[in-house]
């Protein structure tokens, strides 16, 4: 009896260490060590198929990857895909949130519909969009013809594959930005609006001078969170094009996956991952910095 009491009080005194311990140990073992190991591998030229153990070559894998045109193209593509998708998502998301930011019948239903793309399995979504984009039987070309426009190759041509993939991302994730902004709008205080109306401000002025500045922190956070995910987009691209045609839709994530699990060039794959990691880290720091400098 006494001893359980003592044990209880020891536990209580160290609760702030004991409670998080299992989760911390798990994350250290499953994430921190593997990431450090990846970092270590980037200084080797390890090739899993050769059977030889990793030998340290310092920066030689970096030199090789940095001189690889395929890598530079993938790096640029990662950014252009993200910029295209996220900017359209932010624009549409803002418009949709502003439209829905009022009371009306069926608002709950529309919010539910907006959740559906977010919870759908990306691989299945990608495959379904492939049926849309199919050059001979796809609905996308049927629509173009009805509008009197020429047929397109969509994901089948290097010149249109990135916008076509971005469109799928836009379809799936615009609702996310809209929902975040909608709850951001709901949390705005009504005072500035009332005094602006008393002063006779127009709706347009109210939007630019009050709503937009107050919504800015939420908008920036949503935009950067979305960018971090878009930079890492994998499922849709892998399922729809596998990085093709040729390498024309290969982003850093897809390239790293191929180097790891198709070519088994672990050393060089690690270099690509270090770069992807730096890009994501840069975006994550940006979120902190921007919020601070805007004093949000």
């Amino acid at each position: 009896m006494e001893s359980t009491k003592i044990r209880g009080s020891v536990l209580e005194k160290n609760l702030h260490i004991i409670f998080p311990m299992p989760a911390v140990v798990f994350v250290v073992v499953m994430m921190l060590f593997p990431v450090l190991y990846t970092f270590f591998l980037s200084f080797t030229n390890w090739n899993l198929t050769s059977g030889a153990p990793p030998s340290i070559v310092m920066l030689r894998s970096y030199q090789r990857i940095l001189r690889e045109p395929r890598f530079l193209a993938a790096l640029g593509r990662t950014f252009s895909f993200t910029a295209l998708a996220v900017s359209v998502e932010t624009l549409f998301g803002t418009i949709v949130a502003l439209i829905l930011n009022r009371e009306f019948k069926g608002k709950g239903f529309i919010k539910l519909m907006m959740l559906l793309p977010l919870v759908s399995t990306p691989v299945a979504i990608g495959i379904a969009w492939n049926l849309f984009y199919d050059p001979t039987i796809g609905l996308a070309n049927f629509v173009l013809i009805q509008l009197g426009l020429p047929k397109m190759a969509w994901t089948g041509s290097p010149s249109t594959v990135i916008p076509s993939l971005a469109l799928v991302d836009i379809w799936q994730w615009t609702p996310m930005i809209a929902l975040i902004l909608l709850s951001g709008l709901a949390s705005l205080s009504s005072e500035p609006y009332e005094s602006a109306r008393v002063d006779g401000a127009s709706e347009w002025q109210i939007f630019w001078k009050i709503t937009l500045p107050m919504l800015m922190p939420t908008m920036l956070t949503a935009l950067i969170l979305r960018s971090i995910d878009a930079l890492k987009t994998f499922d849709i691209i892998y399922a729809m094009t596998g990085g093709g045609p040729g390498y024309s839709s290969e982003t850093l994530n897809i390239m790293a996956f191929k180097y790891s699990f198709e070519y088994f060039r672990m050393g060089q794959a690690s270099v690509i991952l270090v770069f992807l990691f730096l890009v994501v880290l840069f975006m994550s720091l940006l979120i902190v910095r921007m919020r601070r400098s805007l004093e949000l």
Binding site: G8, F26, V35, L112, V119, T121, P122, I125, K232, A269
Partner: protein, 271 residues
Amino acid sequence: MRTSWIKKGLFVVVLLAIVVPLLFPFLWMLASSFKTQVDIVAWPPRLIFTPTLQNYERVFREQNFLRYFINSSIIGISAVGLSLLMGLPAAYSIARFKQKRLSIFILIARLMPGISFLMPWYIIFSRLKLMDSYVALILSHMLITLPIIVWIMSSYFESIPVEMEESAMVDGATRQRAFLAVVLPVAGPGIVTAVTLSFIFSWNNFMFSQVLSMEKTKTLPIAIYNFVSYAEVDWGAVMAAAVAIMAPAIILTMVFQKYVVRGLTMGAVKG
């Protein structure tokens, strides 16, 4: 009077412009899953057709999809359950002892590119002969579910007034006792949010299973992906498989709509 009708009509048109593009891909997928191959490859695309169940039959009878359903469920439920065991105390500690750094550390798992841990896991799990084992799949999926649970629950615990535990502790309960007997019972809505979202994200995960699973532990997203590569032209069956995969997540979302919205938008909104 008249202008208000025009306004209302315009608003309905605008709402349709939002809803139709959202829903159309789902409806097309659903329709295609009931079409015969002849109807699917027809040009112009057919809106009116005689529905058939043969695609679903093929998916479940010949492709053994039920097995992959069970695999996805085993892995998702185990990962969520174990993550709750670890995540709830951690989230409580983060909320009450203001362990900001700790929460960022766990959140990094959500921001990192998955392959940067997947590649080492692949090497280690093959050495340990754990490839294609439930252990490997569950452990990897926990890296998806745990950060979501900690993220959602730490801010949920923050919203529960401290006075609740304090009064229990004044009455002689230890803090851990107060956590179990006082805090957890009122954390139900938060837990529902965390469980629903983390299960859906585990259910939808493709990359981890693609590398770590083979025939025995294959999950649904891999099954549909492989299905396309074998059966390139069998669109009806592929669409039936897609509908079947997405149905559970969509049903969960409809049932727990309020919680899902809260979970997805949380954190980005500074209250």
